[in-house]
Symmetry: C2
Subunit: 291 residues, 2 copies
């Protein structure tokens, strides 16, 4: 089948966009579209422009034997702010406050579009270059953790609260949940994480940091290292948390008996990733091996 230029470009955008961080070789596209390498190289230049003009992320070239082209999702600071401001407004709706002072948020954090956006923001602001897994603890963080794993092109690992005999030998440990100072347990099958791995932790909520600290401890039992942590909502109090190195998208506080919900961009190391990309970017001039 022959494709027109416009069709090839549409198709390449679809393939790259559906598979962030996956490397596609030039040959993959030449086979797919029955086109010359020089033609595909020109197409990729246009594709690169589309992503940049619309601030959808970067399309970069990886040279070398395992080389090719890949799409890195990247949200802009302005886009993050706009999205988080809208979300904060929704969260601030008084009808969300339940008796006991709890906030009803599951309609938002289970929403596939919101979860996908949160995933892209985490992937844009946490350095996962060396990461092997995205790890979360059931249940409410799973949708955003899955979407983060999708954007980072990494496998997802879900820590369970009770031991599942159906998953084979399991490593369990206890931790103190900050919320009610209760001792809780978490467990993960032995097979879930390979030794010497590097992981990104994702969770929906952090008060004192006890859960993240527990997860970090569990990771260490697996011989794995936590190299980044993304939290959806963190509370202003206690200000002294058990975990220091994390980014949180939204901060939740109480002032004069009123709930204050604000974007928390100050925890973002917003620029490092942009810079990294500029440096590692080699342009889209793929080598034409035929010549």
């Amino acid at each position: 089948m022959k494709f027109k230029r416009t069709e090839r470009i549409g198709a390449i955008v679809k393939i790259l966009s559906d598979n962030p961080n996956k490397i596609y070789t030039l040959s993959y596209f030449t086979n797919q579209f029955n086109a010359a390498k020089s033609t595909i190289s020109e197409d990729l230049l246009v594709v690169k422009n589309v992503f940049e003009k619309l601030h959808l992320g970067k399309v970069i070239t990886i040279s070398g034997a395992a080389g090719g082209v890949k799409y890195i999702p990247k949200t802009s600071k302005a886009e993050n702010e706009e999205f988080l401001m809208e979300l904060c407004e929704k969260i601030s709706d008084p009808s969300r406050v339940l008796s006991g002072g709890f906030l009803y948020l599951i309609d938002l954090i289970y929403d596939p579009t919101i979860a996908a956006k949160i995933g892209k923001i985490f992937a844009s602001n946490i350095d996962y270059t060396e990461a092997d897994y995205v790890v979360t603890m059931e249940t409410k963080g799973i949708p955003m953790a899955l979407m983060t794993a999708k954007a980072m092109n990494l496998p997802l690992v879900i820590i369970r609260k009770d031991i599942k005999v159906s998953e084979g030998p399991t490593l369990s440990m206890t931790y103190v949940s900050g919320h009610n100072s209760k001792v809780e347990s978490m467990s993960l099958p032995r097979k879930a994480i390979k030794p010497n791995s590097k992981v990104i932790l994702i969770d929906d909520f952090m008060r004192g940091g006890g859960t993240i600290q527990g997860m970090t401890g569990l990771m260490n039992e697996f011989g794995a290292e936590v190299i980044g942590t993304g939290i959806f909502i963190s509370t202003t109090s206690p200000s002294n948390k058990m975990v220091q190195d994390y980014i949180s998208l939204i901060q939740l506080g109480v002032k004069d008996d009123k709930i204050i919900v604000e974007p928390n961009l100050k925890t973002f190391k917003d620029e490092y990733r942009n810079e990294d990309l500029e440096n590692s970017e080699l342009g889209i001039e793929l080598e034409d091996e035929d010549e």
Copy 2:
């Protein structure tokens, strides 16, 4: 900012592909790209071709006041078979059999790429035209249910196994889990589902059907109707399940002490959706209101 035709097409593909089943008006694109309606109409024709030529789904036109264009993900039968055959091969790996006869599958079903593909297959073979929610029960079905909800552009609802006081008034009920004939409980906040809703159930595993029957009962307590059920793996035994109307992607059986894992396409009403689309499709000739 001005866009070239190739850039507009790439951008439209990205927007539609990232937001399945979301209706975009012609004006949305004319504003976005600062282009005439006739220009965008031509672009959409090309986009439609890209999706059809590559069997990525359909781009259809909706006429009327709330009209516009939307992308409906659709996997082909051949593609489903190939994907499920590969998956069955992985599942059949003897190293996956744990003591107690359990199968270790979480690395597969938590994989974002696999979950996304499963979601697209469910969305291609379950009629969700009237559906309001995708509903699953924690934990292992969540990734595939989220991806199904994403493909269907529906909110996701997660039934919990224990009652969460932090979610407000909650409806709970007990059910008999087929696996060990144990009485288990499930619960869902009152606010999670509006009365008179129609829902699609998604779960990762079905033996006797007790869980799905329980979920159906819980939905009825919410005044909601189950209009479709998608299961990832169902077992051959018992052949007489408590639930009749479902599709399952993979069938798992035991023959002469050997585990048999096979694609289960016979439960698919594979063609109806294709036909529906052909019928409802009005072509991409969007009306130009200016003329």
